[in-house]
């Protein structure tokens, strides 16, 4: 069971995310969108969307930090005061995202205009996200101190996955809450290519460097020349 949940399923999820994601981006780019509903409803979105997105992005960044730079994190946590400050910040951001998510879910379920643009997949994604947020926040509060033990438990586990030599037994004996939180991440990964979550990888960082104006030619200038996207300003 552990082998399926934490060694086989992660690879299934990653394969789905990459393969289906690429196929979708290439074959049906029209379907890739963040599907904003701000036009239809602004006020709940204001409180929900910003808190959810900023909260979950920063928390995700924290997990990524623990995965990539465990030593740095361990050094920071060397002082109980710093560790507590980090844990409080992390828990705060988690709560921020969780409350935002609850606002957004409530909005999706109660607002007539938003219900029109809600698909069953949207609800499934929300369910998985809520599981992630609730188990994550409870883990942070109940099974302290995640910011440190992550580096000794999940960092080697995730690297074992990356090395294609999975060591799922590293998660044996962890509280069920933590195991559910970890498994649910892979569930989200598996849902990613089939849902609106694809907008995650379309974050337009290229905007930071691209020219302001875009001009595209609809004609070939000379035989063999590629259509050009040139820039002005």
């Amino acid at each position: 069971m552990t082998w399926f949940l934490f060694a086989i399923f992660p690879y299934i999820a990653v394969t789905l995310a990459v393969a289906v994601g690429v196929v979708r981006a290439v074959r049906r780019p029209f379907s890739v969108s963040s599907l904003s509903s701000q036009l239809l409803e602004r006020r709940w979105l204001y409180w929900g969307s910003q808190s959810f997105h900023y909260g979950i992005l920063l928390v995700l960044g924290g997990h990524l930090l623990a995965f990539l730079l465990p030593g740095t994190l361990r050094a920071w946590n060397g002082s109980p005061a710093r560790q507590l400050a980090l844990e409080i910040t992390g828990l705060g951001l988690g709560l921020y995202a969780l409350v935002g998510a609850l606002i957004l879910v409530l909005r999706r379920l109660t607002n007539a205009r938003i219900r029109v643009v809600t698909s069953p997949m949207d609800l499934l994604v929300w369910l998985a996200l809520l599981v992630s947020l609730v188990t994550g926040v409870l883990t942070a509060g109940v099974h302290r101190y995640g910011s440190t033990w992550f580096t000794g438990v999940f960092t080697p586990y995730l690297w074992s996955l990356a090395r294609f030599a999975p060591e799922p037994e590293r998660l044996d004996g962890l509280p069920w809450l933590v195991r559910l939180h970890a498994f649910n991440f892979f569930v989200l990964l598996a849902l990613f290519p089939f849902s609106r979550l694809v907008h995650l990888v379309t974050v337009p960082v290229g905007y930071l460097v691209r020219p302001w104006q875009l001009v595209v030619a609809n004609r070939q200038r000379s035989a063999g020349a590629e259509p050009s996207a040139s820039a002005r300003n």
Binding site: S34, L39, V117, L208
Partner: protein
Amino acid sequence: MNVKAQVSMLFHLDKCIGCHTCSVACKNLWTDRKGAEYMWWNNVETRPGTGYPTRWEDQERLRGGWEPKDGSLRLKLHGRLGALLKLFYNPALPDIKDYYEPFTFRYSDLFDAPAADDQPTAIPVSAITGEPIDIESGPAWDDDFSGSGIYARNDPSLAGVPEETRRQLEELERIVFNYLPRICNHCLNPACVAACPSGAIYKREEDGVVLVNENRCRAWRMCVAACPYKKVYYNWNTGKSEKCILCFPRLETGQAPACAHSCVGRIRYMGVLLYDADRIPEAAAVPDADLVGHHREVILDPFDPAVIAEARASGIDEDWIRAAQRSPVYRFVKEWGLALPLHPEYRTMAMMYYIPPLSPVMSVVDADLFRLDLADGEGAFELFDRLDASRLPIRYLANLFSAGEEGPIRAILRKMLAVRLYRRARTVEGEAPADLERLLESVGLDAESAEAIYRLSTLPTLEERFVLPPYHREVAIESLADPLSHKGLTGLGFVEPPARGE
């Protein structure tokens, strides 16, 4: 010099009767779809009024267009990093209510209602939810002031108009309005293109049409806020932005856009303008007072041999150059100086031009009767020398068309009045008196150009109004692709009907 061609449209507002035929033609052709019900790529507003979406000119709130800063331009909406920080909630985006909640009527009730004492009615239902709604707004909701002073009073372009004049606008006897048809301006310095984080919007090189690549659009909806004319719309169903495409499929097959073609008052003209792309950054960044002049400077003389040589060098066809030489838009805008872009102070270098409307002089009360404010015995009741008494305040027109500068507006109105006086004399008396010739000279015209303006304003044929260049589809990129690869398309380039998300 970097010569490019732009297909441009011109609106002769003096001729617009506000019939909305253009809007309906466009709606039927392009936006009669789920998610697009509320969009009016072409709309006609009553001005003074709040327009559509309501108070779209309130850029302090809606953050559209560019603003000059340290000699260069920056988007009013955001900087590069700011754009990424506002992805999750765009504070400058209008609400659906600012357009209007689209609605239809439950016509089936008329047939399905059980027999009763009363006539059944078709109740209004929201086109989004299908639920019955109270209609609070609609397309052209403030048409002809809609029986309320609220809309005219809240027109942002009335800024700077004296309070007394504003009050007069609300008096029934002195009331005045004109119509303002609006489509996408297909700007030379489009803010929507610059604001799109995904780089999905682009300006087409051949004809300057600004288009949304919906395969790249990710619904960050910055374009909606960044366009100062609010002419990019968000389709809530497909999750993609849409906008006026200047009917490019019609243009490519030699037809005028649906709005122009259907215009009952024949107020619309279409033609090619050659412009110098290198001059755009500088022309868009000058102080407000110089904007109109610099805007005109960017447009090049298609008869100038140097321009023609440069145009050829940058790959513009001979027949496009010829089309530019016969372009009615060029004649009105550059040759006669009669037309202006809408709100040049947004600095997007709008490429749709307007000839501002004439209006009679203000009324005065005389022995309980209202009459025009003219001295006794003044026969020529046009306000050639009395522009300040015109019912539509000059300041208002200046706010709309010349960044608040009254000079360009006065010059244009005087030209139009001079032509009118001259032509009336020719028609009524058979010959224009010499002082009218001098009047023409004083406004920078002569008898020949006055005749040409008269001819093109009032009696143009279809071919004179729409001088459309041949598109040479045979060299377009699509024609080089395998023709069978597009077999079975449902239109708009989709192999399958577009689905919302997944």
